[in-house]
């Protein structure tokens, strides 16, 4: 072996790869191909798929709107408690989603921290489609921040400094230099956020419930169908696998186009 890697490393590596690939193959073998399209196009499946795509798209947009400024502040400023803040912001990455859902319930729920304020405004968030979007954004936002902050740090500030000496105001620099330069990282962050939002289950079912057409996203639908109609569950699972593969392809594409 040219790299000098010990041969025995191949064995656990192969076991690990099989461990990841095998379940996907196992699932694919159980797909009822004859009825595949009718299975994934039942009313409830379509409603769930459509809801998932819609909410994930909105969540991704929110991740961009909130995550880009967060990444900029973390990468380009320094202040007391920044390290702590960064750790807190990344918390949803390691937190069990169910816990996230409970935390959201006690924030935006009727009896939550902001519940009364929201009530006064005449809004009802918990167990609505809005709640789905909030849950998805909560778990997906760190992906955006991590991806973009990394890109911002590797790109460095040199070009921004030059732009300033050429007379560009901070907003102009952000628009014409910083963002174009980190576009690959931003795109990767957006794709990862979308994928995380699409797969979100725990926080959604805890905070938003499972109401068909309102809060029952595709992962929830799969979980329910597993009891009633396993064939439909497998078919829908395959749909999510295909989406995931597409996401990986997209991220690789944006990464390899990086400057």
């Amino acid at each position: 072996m040219p790299s000098g890697l010990p041969r025995w490393v191949l064995v656990p590596a192969a076991v690990g790869a099989a461990f990841i690939v095998l379940p996907l193959v196992a699932m694919a073998t159980r797909v009822d191909w004859a009825d595949f399209f009718s299975l994934i196009s039942s009313d409830s499946s379509q409603a769930a798929l459509w809801l998932s795509l819609r909410t994930s798209a909105v969540s991704t947009l929110l991740c961009v709107l909130l995550g880009v400024p967060m990444a900029l502040v973390l990468a380009r400023t320094s202040f007391r408690g920044q390290t702590l803040l960064r750790s807190l912001v990344l918390l949803p990455l390691v937190l069990p989603p169910v816990v996230g859902g409970i935390a959201l319930l006690y924030t935006f729920g009727r009896r939550g921290l902001l519940g009364e304020t929201i009530d006064v405004l005449g809004l009802q968030i918990a167990f609505s489609t809005t709640a789905v979007v909030i849950a998805q954004t909560f778990v997906a936002l760190p992906f955006m921040v991590v991806s973009l902050e990394g890109t911002l740090r590797t790109t460095g500030e040199r070009y921004e400094v030059v732009a300033a000496t050429l007379g560009a105001r901070p907003t102009t620099i952000l628009r014409r230099v910083t963002l174009p330069l980190v576009l690959p990282g931003l795109a990767a962050g957006a794709v990862l956020s979308f994928a995380r939002a699409l797969g979100e289950f725990g926080a959604t079912i805890t905070f938003a419930g499972s109401l068909e057409g309102v809060t029952r996203t595709l992962p929830l639908e799969i979980y329910l169908q597993r009891e009633v109609d396993p064939d439909a569950a497998v078919a829908l699972s395959l749909v999510l696998v295909v989406v995931a593969v597409l996401v990986i392809g997209l991220v690789r594409g944006t990464r390899s186009n990086a400057l």
Binding site: A163, A164, T165, G167, A168, R169, T172, R176
Partner: protein, 345 residues
Amino acid sequence: MSLHLEATITGRDTVVELDVADGETVAIIGPNGAGKSSVLAAIAGILRPDRGRATLDGEVLFDDRVWTPAHSRGTALLAQDALLFPHLTVLDNVAFGPRSAGRGRTQSRAAAARWLDEVGATDLASRKPSQLSGGQAQRVGVARALAAEPHLLLLDEPMAALDITVVPAMRHVLKRVLADRTALIVTHDVLDAALLADRVIVMDRGRIVEHGPTREVLARPRSQFGASIAGLNLLSGVAEHGAVRTPSGSVVEGMSSDPVPDGQAAVAVFSPSAVGVYLERPAGSPRNVFETTVTELEPIGAQVRVRTTELSADVTVSAVAELGLMPGTAVFLSVKASEVALYVT
């Protein structure tokens, strides 16, 4: 467009005070770590001095209370690395300054095209920076800095990273664009100072150790660093058949990497160590010979620098004794044409 600067940068142990007059080009030379780049960074608004005050055309750049951000200072900075924006074409890179100043796209691109023409890079307009060589990128960098129409142009070792073969062409571009422009150029190459600057500031360990008109500082350096790099012989005049004719009538033969057209203003540059000292006119070999009088003898290490009215020569102590040199001695100085570099100015 005149600059006045007083700055103390504690972290880099730098204390300087300097002025640049309207239309003047000042070179800052000195060894590595002398604080030259810190001074430029403080003027550009990239580095905040601990104390001090700077004004450009009467506008305060910084003082105890005021801090004008880099983008409203009117001081474009070009460093060793051109740092062209990789996502923009050459034309849009140069148009960046005008655009930032609020001018429209079409108007900015027209201005950019003019500046590219000024540095001889028109044919590069549609390229991306990744498709440029180092010399081309630095030309575009100059155009981009100039297109921002700075009150003060700051150049931080603009040729240090360039391939040695493209340096003369770049120097030529700078010579042209720096004429009548208020500019500060940091360099470690004494020739840049000699050819581009009206005045030289020598910095060492965070202090200005010497300053004055370029010719004076280079001819009679008082600081250690000045002496180590300078003492360079510089004769200016008009090009004539590939040589330089000085106003006093002597003709200096030399070598040139670029063609030197007749009638152009030109300089001949050579090191004192290349100069031989004789009591009688040396005969035979095709040398440049100057008849002159010794004005001063100055020991530099194991050598003695023999100064005459216009030129200097480095000789050994024994040679001084052998020739009986002293101020007032009439001597002939000679230098081989192959030791003399000619430059169009």
